[in-house]
């Protein structure tokens, strides 16, 4: 089967859903680029396709009627996405970096997330917010956050964070077809990562985890890019005779608790790897899940491998230190395997 990058898989998912459904439209800043200049200078059109070129080419296929460059006015276009969704369209809005969400957060936190509930189930808000997350790009504190838990915390929002091209395409198609608002998080350090992707459209249900690697000694749950870090650790540990089961939850709201718990009950050990800050995070959430529902199976404490409770630093060696490494994951796994319970 052909391979695609995550970036191209997302582009294909958007193109296929737009081709199939005229209700699907795109809003965002410079998602095509060159707006206002392309009338007298046609080469300006589609000059960016967003800062990472993810939406490049869609302007040519669908035109400015459906690929809509907005002003730098997030409250405006996120709020308009809510309204357009209520009125029957399927907007896919792009927040250029997840860090920029602050300027439009009310429309997600209080409007998109709550309208169905507060209006007694009478209103649907079928919108997607695509946004870019992640450290490792030397982009500094205001362009490198992940903020997974900020969205996961809010009832009414669904949260998706794919780690492979196959998942990116199938989950984005599912998100666009979903009747609820979905936050779709794209990791900037994964965009160029390739995997096999079918050409036809397909949807991966939200709330189904993927067992990336089977194992018997330690369950390692990785969040998005940390899935790959966890796999690197698992390969290294296999040489030492430690068998890791690596799980990619893929969606965090809803979360596939059963796949995680079944694995923890089998291995008796859990490491959660999350690039986010450690407090009130996906790592603490998944750790609490296991502590509450798989306590009797645990043979060792739960370990969380996360970034520190600091903003993302710019300086390259500090940023490298900030991001959880495969070595740290491996060390956490080893410590659990070698853990001996104190005698009562």
């Amino acid at each position: 089967m052909r391979e695609l990058t995550i970036k191209d898989a997302i582009n294909e998912a958007l193109a296929q859903e737009m081709a199939a459904d005229d209700r699907v439209i795109l809003f965002g800043e410079d998602i095509a680029g060159g707006a206002g200049r392309d009338e007298d200078y046609p080469e300006a059109a589609d000059s960016w396709g967003g800062p990472f070129g993810v939406t490049k080419g869609l302007l040519g296929k669908f035109g400015r009627r459906r690929v809509i460059d907005t002003a730098i006015a997030e409250t405006g276009f996120i709020g308009a996405s809510v309204g357009a969704a209520v009125a029957g369209l399927r907007p896919v809005a792009e927040i250029m970096y997840v860090d920029f969400i602050g300027t439009s957060f009310d429309q997600l936190l209080n409007q998109a997330a709550k309208l169905r509930y507060i209006y007694g189930g009478k209103v649907s808000v079928p919108m997607v917010v695509r946004t870019v997350v992640g450290a490792g790009f030397r982009a500094g504190a205001e362009h490198s956050q992940t903020l997974y838990s900020l969205y996961t915390h809010i009832p009414g929002l669904k949260v998706v964070a794919p780690s492979t091209a196959y998942d990116a395409k199938g989950l984005l198609i599912a998100a666009i077809r979903d009747p609820d608002p979905v936050i779709f998080m794209e990791h900037k350090r994964l965009y160029m990562r390739k995997s096999e992707v079918p050409e036809e459209p397909y949807a991966i249900p939200l709330g189904v985890a993927r067992i990336v690697r089977e194992g018997t000694d330690v369950t390692v749950v990785g969040v998005q890019k940390m899935v790959h870090t966890s796999l690197d650790a698992a390969v290294a540990l296999a040489a030492e005779g430690i068998s890791c089961e690596v799980i990619d939850p893929r969606t965090y709201s809803p979360l596939d608790t059963e796949t995680i718990l079944t694995s923890v009950r089998k291995t008796g050990r859990l490491v959660v790897v999350d690039e986010s800050h450690p407090r009130c995070s996906l790592a603490t959430d998944i750790a609490a899940l296991a502590a509450e529902h798989a306590f009797d199976s645990l043979r060792a404490p739960i370990r969380q491998v996360t970034a520190p409770h600091t903003p993302v630093p710019f300086s390259p060696p500090l940023e490298d230190l900030y991001i959880p490494s495969a070595e740290r994951v491996a060390e956490a796994c080893r410590s659990l395997v070698h853990h001996r319970k104190a005698m009562p």
Partner: protein, 328 residues
């Protein structure tokens, strides 16, 4: 150069200082641009080349105790304010000698000794912060003034409108300086701006709005001087729109395919440094300006060499300065 300066009139000294500041910024940004291409610099870097007359013309009118906020395109403001070149370059290289110890990076240059609150990475974030500094000045009965620099793309943000409203309502000593470089990233201002001008938006907030040629450092200086004098005298805020142009991309790596090449050439012909030379022709010897350019190139080179040779931050600084104090 010192011998030439010794014979210069005070007015010429002032003019030469304006040119020197613009030249220092230009040399710095050209070096940044080259170093990114050469893969010597990492990260998100936004250059100010082409826009020098705006920052220099405004900042030259400030007192040392005044405040300013900037954007991710903040190198020029920092240089005009007198932040040492080695400290800015050190920050771009992420070194311990950087102005933030390497933790901020290119977008977040800050120097509290110079009232440079800092560069903010979020569009329009600096406007209400400048208004707040101006509020503190007024609250304490001081006559310190605050400046917020921002781009044309920022005028759609709630923070822009709310800051103008706040400043005008309380008569705060603040200048909102829009650097209209005709593009919000790739999006042309004639697409995204529906009103005649940014300056015209001031009327909605009952403050003066002035549009000025941002390629002419003397014109910017005169507009800023008047607005700052008003603010200092307690007459409230002003919105200034300086028409300018950026030569390089939105960020380094952006190849600017959304700009007609002829447009860039046209604006390069209206370069603020060339404009200065034309305006002062006959009064200031071009050889003197050439000498300033060479001196600035030498200073910039020394700063970059020092920055690249400087040590990385200590790993323990990763978790320092998140809070002023923290329970053990």
């Amino acid at each position: 150069m010192s011998s030439s300066k010794a014979s210069a009139s005070p007015e010429m000294e002032t003019s030469l200082a304006l040119y020197g500041s613009m030249s220092r910024i230009r040399q710095f940004e050209d070096r940044v641009h080259a170093d990114v291409i050469a893969d010597r610099l990492e990260g998100y870097v936004h250059c100010y080349a082409g826009e020098e007359a705006v920052g220099v013309g405004v900042i030259a009118q400030l007192r040392p105790d005044d405040w300013l906020t900037s954007t991710y395109r903040n190198h020029g403001h920092a240089i005009a304010r007198g932040v040492p070149l080695e400290a800015i370059a050190g920050e771009l290289f992420g070194r311990a000698t950087g102005v933030d110890g390497g933790k901020g990076g290119s977008m977040h240059v800050a120097d509290q000794n110079l009232g440079m609150i800092g560069g903010m990475g979020i569009v329009a974030a600096g406007l209400p912060i400048a208004a707040g500094a101006a509020f503190a000045s007024k609250y304490r009965g001081e006559d310190r003034v605050a400046i917020a620099f921002f781009g044309d793309g920022a005028v759609h943000q709630g923070a822009f409108h709310e800051a103008l409203e706040f400043a005008s309502l309380f008569g705060l000593p603040v200048l909102f300086v829009c650097e209209n470089n005709l593009y919000a990233e790739t999006t042309a201002v004639d697409y995204h701006l529906l009103t005649d001008s940014v300056a015209a938006m001031a009327a909605n907030y009952r403050m003066p709005g002035v549009r000025v040629d941002g390629m002419d450092v003397f014109a910017v200086r005169d507009v800023a001087a008047e607005a700052i004098a008003r603010a200092r005298a307690g007459a409230g805020p002003t919105l200034v729109e300086a028409m300018t142009y950026r030569y390089y991309g939105q960020y380094e790596g952006d190849t600017q395919t959304y700009k007609p090449p002829r447009e860039i050439a046209d604006y390069r012909a209206r370069d603020p440094l060339l404009r200065f030379r034309a305006t002062t022709s006959g009064r200031i010897d071009a050889g003197l300006l050439d000498e300033i350019d060479r001196q600035m190139a030498t200073d910039v080179d020394a700063a970059f060499v020092a920055a690249e040779a400087a040590p990385w931050p200590d790993p323990t600084t990763l978790t320092a300065d998140v809070y002023a104090s923290w329970k053990d």
